[in-house]
Each structure stands twice: as C-alpha cells, then as structure tokens.
Subunit: 204 residues, 2 copies
Amino acid sequence: MSRTIKVLLAEDQSMVREALAALLGLEEDIEVVAQVARGDEVLGAAREHAVDVALLDIEMPGATGIEAAARLHADLPHIKLVILTTFGRPGYLRSAMESGADAFLVKDAPAAQLAEAIRKVLTGERVIDPTLAAAALAEGANPLTEREREVLRAAADGSTNAELSKTLHLSQGTVRNYLSTAIQKLAVRNRAEAVRAAREKGWL
Amino acid sequence: MSRTIKVLLAEDQSMVREALAALLGLEEDIEVVAQVARGDEVLGAAREHAVDVALLDIEMPGATGIEAAARLHADLPHIKLVILTTFGRPGYLRSAMESGADAFLVKDAPAAQLAEAIRKVLTGERVIDPTLAAAALAEGANPLTEREREVLRAAADGSTNAELSKTLHLSQGTVRNYLSTAIQKLAVRNRAEAVRAAREKGWL
DNA sequence: CGAGCGGCATGACATCTGTCACGCGCCACT
DNA sequence: AGTGGCGCGTGACAGATGTCATGCCGCTCG
C-alpha cells in the first residue's frame, strides 16, 4: 500500500501550524488534509476528512489535545493519535497514554522524528521518548485528589482564600485544608510552590 | 537585485525551528543559511554566514532573542532584525524596539506574514502588529524599579521572604517593602498576582 | 459490617505576608 | 544648597496563610 498518509493537524499558533504543514508537505507519502486551531474543532474536522493520523498539540483553546485525543479515540478509534507538545511533563505523557495516544513527541525533539513517528504509529507501533517514559514511571501517579487539584487550579492566579471559598462554594477553612494537604503531598512549603510543582509534573 | 535573502533562524524548539525553515524554504527568494537553538549562539553564527535578516524567538536558553537583537544591532547593524514570539506582550514589543528590532511578529499570526515581513524589513520598512503597538503605547512604560523586578523575579517560584532575603542579600523587611511597592504599582493584592501581572505585561 | 478514604466543616494556634511610618545615605537635577 | 527618587533598613501591626485536632457523612472494599 503506497497511498499517502492523511494527517489532521491541530495547533493553535498559526505560524507554527502552517510551518509544520510545510515540513510534512516535504514528505512524499504524507499529506496534511485538515488543519484546526482549537481543540474542540478536532472531532468535526476528523469526521469530514478521512484522516489516518491526528497530530495534536496539547495547549489549545476550546479543549486540550489530550481531551481531543480522548474523544477521537472513543468516536473514531481507527485514527492514530500523535501528541506533540512544548512541555515534556511526565503527567502529560501519562494522561495522553490513558487517552489512547499512540505517540508522544516534544517540540524540541529533532524534526525528523515527526514524520517518522507518523509512519510508525500506522504500523501499530508506539512512539515515546524513553527518558520521558522513565520519568513518568519514576514519579508515580498523581497523588492529588480531584478537589485538591480544583483548589490548586483556582489558586494558581493568586486568588486569596476568601475568593477561593466563594468561587468554589467552600468554607475558607476547607480551602485551607485542601491547600495544606496538597502542599504536604507535593513536599513544598506554600501554595505558590505547590502550584509550580503540580504544573511541572503535569498534575494540575 | 534578485539575490536570495539570507536568513538566520534562532529558535530553541528544534521541531518548530526546522518547520519554520521548511516554510521559508518554500519561498523562492529566501534561503535559511544558519540555524541556532540558543540566544548566545546568534552573534557567532551571524558573523560566519553573511546574513541579511535574523529571525529571533524571544524565549531561548543562553540569551533571549531581545538580548541577541541588541548585540546584533550593536555589532552588525546592517542585519535586519525580526522578532518572532509566542507571547504578544506589550512590554516585549517595547523592549524589542528599544533593542533595534525592525519587525515584531507573534506566532499566532498567519504564516504568510513571516516571509512578507522579511521582505519588508529589507526595504527599510518596520512591521508591527497595530493592535499590539496600541497596547504597548496605552499601557505606558514599566513602572517597576530594577530592584522591584529583581525581587519579583526571585519570588516568582514561590520562595518565602526568608529565602528571598538570603538569595538577594537583603533584610526580610526590605524584601517585603519591595514586594509591597510592586504590589501597589501593579494594583494587585499579593505577590502571586503581582508576578502574574508583571509577566503578562512583559515587565518581569 | 467495620475500616478507611474522600469531601466538608470548625476552631485554635503559630507563622508568614502586606502595610505603614520612619530613618539614613547616595546621586541627579534645578 | 535643596529636593526628590531610589536603595536599604527597622519596628509595629493587621490580616492572610498553613497546621493540627477533631468531627460528621457517604461510599467502597474486603
């Protein structure tokens, strides 16, 4: 079979998106058949275009690439999923895999790996940076409960306890308790460090 | 004159860098003659390669694209400078212009603008997003003193006052005073918000 | 069914943070 | 020579934050 590989490209920064399209355009056997700039446009575009592989950025408006991957995996399971991201956060890798991703690439890997990964996933192979995989396994699963994550996310912009208690409909004491347990689980010493730590791990 | 335009490309994420090179490679009159991944490699590469235009990302290890622009502007003033960045922060635009940049593009602008900007700067034209320019003028200059910026930068990762006082060789009271004035100048209510606000403006 | 966990809450306590008033020295500008 | 901005510091105070003990409810798992 030497049909061309049909790729859907999802990435919010147009310049990067079109540059990636140009890059893939150089490959004889690859054709970019659709481009979208938002996570919530992925599924629709995939339905319209007979796509073999979806190349998804994580950080996108509308829905993250990981959420988009989960939906594609559920609705159009024959499409192979390649996650492409700026941040090699172990937690991202973990959740990408749980969402059915076939490959996980970071943007500072050599460009040649992109086309290579696209070809490999079509043969059923999985493509993951071994260093990242090791990191993801080493750090273990996300220890934070759903509520703790929620509070951390809400606290990320510098809101005070009083504001958090209003937006989350909790008492101030409860907010402080959640933050306190999160701080302990992450082995840091205040909410700001907790937010940073959780972000870096991809646990936010 | 129909010599090809020789471009130096500085961007730390290889996949993006090579994709941009592919994109520019599609243009008949443009040739990417050098690629670097760090800000501190820009000057050396520019010296070796007879470059017409330097295309510089801001966020890079070694030195920011803005610092690299300043050095190029001082040492090789005939080279035109195009800043390309993810973040359309008004403060970035301002300091880019002060460093001698000829064009300022954000990565979510259409890809076509890139080649266009490269051609325009060579005719002596300046290329700036009008919306961004307006924002930069509207917000005024950075109100923070050098020390306030220093303390904010150091506080950005969630360090406590005690830690800040050690790393900055100041008393705890002084650290708090600087943070307090920064918080007031930025019209926010705590250090975390101050860090966010300063980042968003490009004042960090 | 009992144990344990997660969600939610309270109250008390120690510490951290942000503000304010004030002082000193240095430098630049008028 | 005086004024004002900035760097740096102190001390005092109010309010925010983090910790701990403790309790209740509902769910799940052995």
